[in-house]
Amino acid sequence: MFRSEKLVRITVQTPEQFISAVTGVIARLKLLHLIRIDETHLGRMGYVAETDGSLLTDYEQFLEALEKLLNLLHVRPDGVSLDEEVIPEKEIFKVRERFQEIRAVVEADLGELATVEAALQEKQALLDRFKILPGEFDFTFLGERHYVRWVIGLVPALGTEKLEESLSERHHAVIELGILQDQAVIMVFGLNKDWETFKRALRGALFEPLDIPEGTSGSVDAAVAILQADIARLQEKVQGLAGRQQVFQRQFRVELLTLREKAIAARQMLAARRLFGKIDKSFLISGWIPERLFAVLEQELSRVTAGQVVIEKVDPEDLREVREGIVKIPILFNNPMLISPFEKLTSLYGTPRYREVEPTIFFALSFLLLFGMMFGDVGQGGVLFLLGYFIFRRSYKYLDYGIILMECGFSSALFGVLYGSVFGLESIFPALWFRPMDNIPYFIKVTLSLGIALISLGLVLNLVNALRLKEYENLLSASGLAGALLYWMAAGLGMKYLLTGQVAPGELSLLGWAAAILLVIMVLHRPLYRLIFKREDPKRIVRQSGFLTGLIESVVEVFDDLIRFVANTVSFLRVAAFALSHAALFTAVFSIARVVAQEKEAGVSYWLVVAVGNVIVIILEGLVVSIQTVRLEYYEFFGKFFRGGGERFRSFDKETGPTARKS
C-alpha cells in the first residue's frame, strides 16, 4: 500500500507465427506497460514491426456496423469479460458470420422500426417548426398566387435590416412574425419574376426555411392538431415494435457485446504490433509487468507457443539505465477500492517516483478527516453521499468522483454526529463530542494538534523517501531529520503550553541548546555530509571556492524552512475557521428564516428559507471546503515529502486502445 506495485522488466521474443497468440495472452492480462520499440535504439534502427492495415480496417468497419445494431436495439456498449483466446486473422471471419446471422433476424422484425422512428422524427420536427408560427396564421390565403411567391423561415435577428437593404431595389415585403432566441421568424413576399434575386439575398442572409409542406392549408393551430394526432399514432406503433426490440435485446445482448469485445481485442492486438520490434522472423516485445504476474505470464506464453518463446526477466535494480536515471520505472498504484479513487488527486499533484512512498492512502484518510471536520453535518453529509451514489450508479466515467463524494459524505455525517448537527439543527440530538461554536479555543487546539500530526507524518515520509532514494545529504538539512527534530521539540513544548498553560524553564533551556546544535548542523549540512559520508578532507572542503557563499545560502535556506514550518502549522487553523464559518452560515440561515417567518406569518416560508439556505451551504461550503482540504494536502502535507517526476503505468489496453498516444 505504501509502495507502488513491484515491477520487473520483461523482454519476450517469439517467432512470427505465434505473435497473435502471444499478444492475446498479454491483452488478457492487461497489466503490461509497453516499452515502445520505436522509441528505443532498436526502433531507430528500423526494427519495428508493422501491422496488417486491411485487417485493421475490416475490424473498424465491423465495429461500426455492430455499433449501429446495438443502437437499434438500445443496448449500452458495456464491456464484458472475455476468456477465449482471440487470433485476429481468424476472428474476423467468426465474428462477422455470427453478426450477420443476428442482424438478419433483428432487421426482419425491426426494419420497420427505423422507418417509423424516422417518420416520427420528421413529424416532430415539422411540429416544432409550426409551433414557431402564430396559431391564427392561415395558409389558405397564401395558396394559388400567380405573380407572387412567399417563403417563411428564420434569419439571424441582426440580419433583417441587411436583408431589407439587399431587396430594396425589388418589390418586396419582409414581415417579422416573431423572435426565437437570436433569430427572427420572417415571411418574405416577392414577385415570381424576381425570385432568383430573392433566393440570392436569402442565401446571403443565412436564411433557414421552415419547409412548410406544399398544399398546407388552414390555420397553424389546425395543422398542429393534425400533426399531434399523427405523432401520437406513430408513437403507439413505435411502442408496439419496442416490445420486439426488448425481446431481441434480452436474446442477443450478451452475444453482441461478446462479439464487440472480441473485435476490440483483435483490433487492439493488431494495433499493438506497431509498438513491437521485429528482427527477421521474430517479434520482440518489451515492457514492465508486476512481478506477481510474471509466473502466470511465463506459463501462459509457454503454453500458447508450445515452448517457442524466450522470456527475459530483469529486476529494475539490475538495470544500469535505471540506476543512472536514464530510464524511469513506471508506477502502478496498488490501493484498495475505497482508496484508489484518490489516486487521481495524487496524480494531479504529480506522479511519485518508483522508489518513493506512494502517499495515496495517507492523502485519502487525511482528506476525509479534514473534510469531515470542516463540513460536519449529518444531513448535508447524507446529501453528499446520495449525490456521490447517484454519480456512482449513473456515470461510469466519473465513478471515482462518485466514490470520493460518497466517502466525503460519510465523513461529514460522522462528524455531524460528533458535533450534533442535522441540516444545521442542533436540537435533534446531543453532540457526541462537542459543538464547534460552543468551544472555539478547544477546537483551535484540536486543529493545531492535527496540523502538527500531519506535518510530522510528512516529515517521517520525507525521511523514508530520503533513505529509499539515498539522498543522505537531505537528512542533515532543515527539511530533513535535523529540521524534523527541531520541529518536534518545539511543537511538543508548544502543545504542552497550550494544554497545561506552562512550560518548565529546564525544558525551555533544553530546547534552546538543542535548537542551537541543530541549527549549526542544518547550516553546515553540506560540508558535514561530505565530511561524514564522503570522508573528504576537511581542509579541502573549507578551501574549495564557494564555501562561504554556500554557507550564506544555507543560512537563508534554514531560515526559510523554519518559517515554513511555522506557517504550515498555523495554516491548519483554517480547519477550525471553516468549520466555524460552516456553523456561522447556519446561524445566518436560521436568522433569515425567522425574520421571513415573522413577516409572512407562515411556517412554510421558514422551512423554505432553511432548505434553500442548506442548498447554498452545501454548494458554497462544499466547494470551499474541498478546495481548502486539497490546498492543505498539497501545500502543507505533500510539500514536505513528495518528489514526483515519475511516470504513470499505462496498461496494455490503454496504450493500444483508441485513446492511445499517437505513434
Binding site: 428564420l154 434569419v155 439571424p156 441582426l158 440580419g159 435590416e161 441587411k162 436583408l163 437593404e165 439587399s166 431587396l167 430594396s168 431595389e169 432566441q181 437570436d182 433569430q183 434575386t197 440570392r200 439575398a201 442565401r203 446571403g204 442572409a205 443565412l206 436564411f207 433557414e208 426555411p209 499517437k662
Partner: protein, 336 residues
C-alpha cells in the same frame, strides 16, 4: 507605447535588405529581438517565424488588457476574437477536408491560454456539425448554428466561415457597449473605421474576386461602420466598375480612394488611411482606451507587413513592388 513600433527609418532599411538573414539581423536590433531570440542559429522556417511574430502580438494584447481598466480590457481582448475566428475556420476547413489533427494544429495561430476555443474537442469532433456542437461556451456557437442550414443547403463551408467572421467583428461592437464617456467615443470611432476597412475589403473580394451577386454580398457585410452606412454599402455593392464604385463612395473614402486604378488597391489604400488615423490618436488625450487599441491595431498591421516582407523575400520579389502591398510608415510619415 508607440516607440515600440518600427519607425519609418526602420522600414526604410528593412526594405533595402537583400537576404532574409540581413533582415533578421536588423530586426534583432529592434523590439522584435525577444521574438528572434527564440530561433538561435540557423534561419528559422518562415511559417514558424510568422507565427512567432503573431504570438508576440497576442502577448502584447494580453499585457495591455491587464494594464487597462476592466471594461477596456474586454475590448482589447475582443480584438483577439478575429484570430480565434481564423483558427476556427482553419479547423472547420481541416475537418471538411478530413485533414489529420496534427496538420490542422500546425496551422493555428498560437493563442495559447488566450483562446477559449476547445481546440482538442473540435479536432476530435471529426465532422463539421459535431464541431459546431462542441462550441457552446464561445461567441461563435449561436452564429454557426444559425448558418448550419445554409451550410447544409449549399454543401460548402462559406456560410459558416462568413458567420464566424461576422461574429468576431460584431463582438467588438458588443464590447464597445461596456465602455463609457471618452473611452467609448474614441473606441467607437476606431472600431468603426476598422469595420469600414473590413467592409471595403470584403466588398471587393466578394463582388469582384468571388463574383457574388450584390444582393447576397450586402448580407455578408458588417453594420456599425464609422462612415459607411448600410445604404452606402448597398449602393457600393451594386456598382459594377471601379469609376462607379469611386463615385458611390461617401466622404472621406471618396478622397482616400480617389487615386486607385484597380480593385486590389482598395484594401491597401483604406488600410493606409486607417494607419494615419491610428497614429493621430497618439496626439490626443493619453488616458483613454484609444491609445492601447490603436497601438495593437498598428502592431497587427506591422506584423502583417513583416509577414509580407518575409514571403516576398522568399519569392525573390523586389521591395519596390512590395511597398505597394503594405501599409507602413515610410519616409518620415505614414503613406496615405
Amino acid at each position: 507605447m508607440k516607440g515600440k513600433l518600427l519607425s519609418a527609418e526602420d522600414w526604410h532599411y528593412l526594405l533595402q535588405m537583400r537576404t532574409l538573414d540581413d533582415l533578421l539581423k536588423y530586426l534583432s536590433g529592434t523590439d522584435y529581438a525577444r521574438v528572434l531570440a527564440r530561433f538561435p542559429g540557423a534561419t528559422p522556417p518562415l511559417g514558424e517565424l510568422s507565427l512567432a511574430l503573431y504570438e508576440d502580438l497576442f502577448k502584447d494584447t494580453a499585457r495591455l488588457s491587464k494594464a487597462v481598466p476592466k471594461n477596456g480590457s474586454r475590448l482589447l481582448a475582443s480584438l483577439l476574437l478575429r484570430y480565434e475566428a481564423e483558427n476556427l475556420k482553419t479547423i472547420l476547413r481541416g475537418l471538411w477536408r478530413g485533414s489529420p489533427p496534427q496538420e490542422i494544429l500546425a496551422l493555428l495561430y498560437p493563442l495559447g491560454s488566450l483562446s477559449r476555443l476547445p481546440v482538442e474537442e473540435l479536432l476530435q469532433a471529426g465532422q463539421v456539425t459535431a464541431a459546431v456542437d462542441a462550441l457552446p461556451s464561445t461567441v461563435f456557437h449561436g452564429p454557426l448554428r444559425q448558418a448550419l442550414a445554409q451550410f447544409q443547403a449549399q454543401g460548402r463551408l462559406f456560410p459558416l466561415e462568413i458567420a464566424v467572421d461576422q461574429a468576431a467583428i460584431e463582438h467588438l461592437g458588443i464590447a464597445l457597449k461596456s465602455l463609457s464617456g471618452l473611452d467609448r467615443a474614441k473606441a467607437r470611432s476606431i472600431i468603426g473605421m476598422l469595420v469600414d476597412g473590413t467592409n471595403l475589403s470584403w466588398l471587393v473580394r466578394f463582388r469582384h474576386l468571388y463574383g457574388i451577386s450584390p444582393e447576397e454580398t450586402i448580407n455578408y457585410l458588417l453594420v456599425g461602420g464609422r462612415h459607411l452606412s448600410l445604404r452606402d454599402l448597398g449602393r457600393l455593392a451594386r456598382t459594377t466598375d471601379l469609376p462607379a464604385f469611386r463615385e458611390a463612395l461617401p466622404a472621406p473614402y471618396q478622397e482616400v480612394l480617389s487615386e486607385i486604378d484597380h480593385w486590389g488597391q482598395v484594401r491597401i489604400f483604406a488600410e493606409r488611411w486607417l494607419v494615419g488615423k491610428l497614429h493621430q490618436v497618439f496626439l490626443s488625450d493619453p488616458f483613454q482606451i484609444g491609445l492601447p487599441l490603436s497601438y495593437l491595431l498598428l502592431k497587427e498591421l506591422e506584423v502583417k507587413s513583416l509577414e509580407c516582407l518575409f514571403s516576398s523575400m522568399a519569392f525573390g520579389e523586389s521591395p519596390a513592388k512590395l511597398v505597394e502591398r503594405i501599409s507602413v510608415p515610410i519616409g518620415g510619415g505614414v503613406r496615405v
